[in-house]
C-alpha cells in the first residue's frame, strides 16, 4: 500500500490502515515536511455545521474522533473546544467565476443565477447581477484610447485621468486612507472595483448627449460625476 502525500490525511489514513485493519506494509511518500501544511501552519477551526447531511456526516465523524484523539495517540494535539467569533471578513470578489471557470468564492456566484461573463472587453460590475446585454460596449480603455486618438487628430492633448488611490493602511496608527465616494457602492471595495460597468442596469439612461457616443467627452450631468458616464450612449441598457 502506497499513500501519496504525507499530510494529515495521508498520515491518518496510514495510521488507521495499520491500527484498524492490520495493514502494516504502508509506504507514505512526502516531498516536504510531514504534516507541514494545514496541520502545522494555517488552520485552527474544527466544526461540523454544514449545509448538507453528507458534509455534516463526515465532519461530525471527524469531530468525534478529534475529541478522543489525544487519548488515542497518547500525545498533545492542543485540541480545545470553544467558540469562534469572526468580526469581519471579505471574500475575494475579484475571483468571481465566469461561466467556464471553477468558482472559488462562495456567495456571489451561487446567489445570482448567471454570473456576468468576465473577459478583457467587459468590466465587472458590483451591482448588476446580469451580464452586459448583447452589443454592449464595456471596454473602457479601448474607448478612452479612441477618444484620445480623436483629440490628437484635432491637435489637442488628451488629459490622462489621475490614478485612483487605493485603500491602505499607514504603518503606524494613522488610520485609513479609504473614503467613500459618490457612486462608491461597497465601502469594502476600492473605487476601481466598485464602479458600475457601462452596461450596468442600475444606472438608468435619463438624457443623451450629442454626439451619441458615451465617450463623447462631455460630463455626465445626470449623475453629477466627473467620470465618463454611459448616460449619453444609445447603447445603454435600461432594466426591463
Amino acid at each position: 500500500m502506497v499513500v501519496v502525500g504525507g499530510g494529515g490525511h495521508g498520515l491518518a489514513t496510514a495510521y488507521h490502515l495499520a491500527a484498524d485493519h492490520g495493514i502494516t506494509d504502508v509506504a507514505v511518500l512526502e516531498k516536504g515536511w510531514l504534516a507541514g501544511g494545514n496541520m502545522a501552519r494555517n488552520t485552527t477551526i474544527i466544526r461540523s455545521n454544514y449545509l448538507w447531511d453528507e458534509s455534516a456526516g463526515i465532519y461530525e465523524h471527524a469531530l468525534k474522533l478529534w475529541e478522543t484523539l489525544e487519548e488515542r495517540l497518547g500525545t498533545q494535539v492542543m485540541f480545545d473546544q470553544r467558540g469562534v467569533l469572526n468580526l469581519a471578513h471579505s471574500l475575494a470578489t475579484s475571483a468571481r467565476p465566469s461561466a467556464g471557470s471553477t468558482p472559488t468564492s462562495s456567495t456571489a456566484s451561487t446567489r445570482s443565477g448567471s454570473p456576468p461573463p468576465r473577459s478583457a472587453s467587459s468590466r465587472r460590475c458590483s451591482t448588476c447581477p446580469t451580464g452586459p446585454p448583447p452589443g454592449a460596449r464595456g471596454d473602457v480603455p479601448a474607448a478612452r484610447r479612441d477618444r484620445e486618438a480623436r483629440l490628437r487628430r484635432l491637435g489637442l492633448r488628451p488629459r490622462r485621468p489621475r490614478p485612483r488611490r487605493r485603500p491602505g493602511l499607514r504603518l503606524r496608527g494613522a488610520g485609513l486612507r479609504h473614503r467613500r465616494r459618490p457612486g462608491h457602492l461597497d465601502p469594502h471595495q476600492p473605487a476601481a472595483t466598485s464602479r458600475r460597468a457601462p452596461w450596468c442596469c442600475a444606472r438608468r439612461v435619463t438624457r443623451r448627449c450629442s454626439p451619441p457616443s458615451w465617450a463623447c467627452g462631455s460630463r455626465c450631468r445626470a449623475t453629477r460625476s466627473r467620470r465618463w458616464s454611459p448616460s449619453c450612449s444609445s447603447r445603454c441598457w435600461t432594466p426591463s
Partner: protein, 105 residues
C-alpha cells in the same frame, strides 16, 4: 483588512500577528472527491483518491483517515464517503456547499 478597519476603526492600531497565503484545491461544488478511480478506466483498478478539500481538510483529518482507510481496506466506499465519489460530476448528485456558512474554513 480594509473591511475590518472600516467596521472597527480601532483595529487600525492593532498589529498583525499572523498571515498566510496559498493555493487551495476547490471542486466545482466545494466538496471533496473521495473514492475509487476505476469507474471509467480499469487501468486505475487499485487507485483511490482523496482530494479537493479546499479550506476544509484540516478539521476532517481524523474522520477521513478512518473512513478512507476503511474504504481502501475493504475495496468499497465507506458510507460516509460514498457521496463524495468522482462520479457525482457526471451523475449530477453534487453536494453544493457554496455559501453554506459564513465561515469559509
Amino acid at each position: 483588512m480594509a473591511a475590518a478597519v472600516e467596521l472597527f476603526p480601532v483595529f487600525a492600531r492593532a498589529h498583525v500577528l499572523r498571515t498566510w497565503a496559498g493555493i487551495v484545491d476547490v471542486t466545482p461544488d466545494a466538496s471533496p472527491i473521495v473514492g475509487p478511480l476505476h469507474a471509467h478506466d480499469r487501468a486505475w483498478e487499485n487507485a483511490w483518491i482523496n482530494c479537493g478539500w479546499g479550506t476544509g481538510g484540516f478539521k476532517a483529518t481524523p474522520g477521513i483517515g478512518h473512513a478512507f482507510a476503511d474504504t481502501v481496506a475493504h475495496g468499497r466506499a465507506h458510507p460516509l464517503v460514498a457521496p463524495y465519489a468522482l462520479e457525482r460530476f457526471t451523475t449530477g448528485r453534487l453536494i453544493d456547499e457554496h455559501g453554506a456558512a459564513a465561515v469559509a474554513h
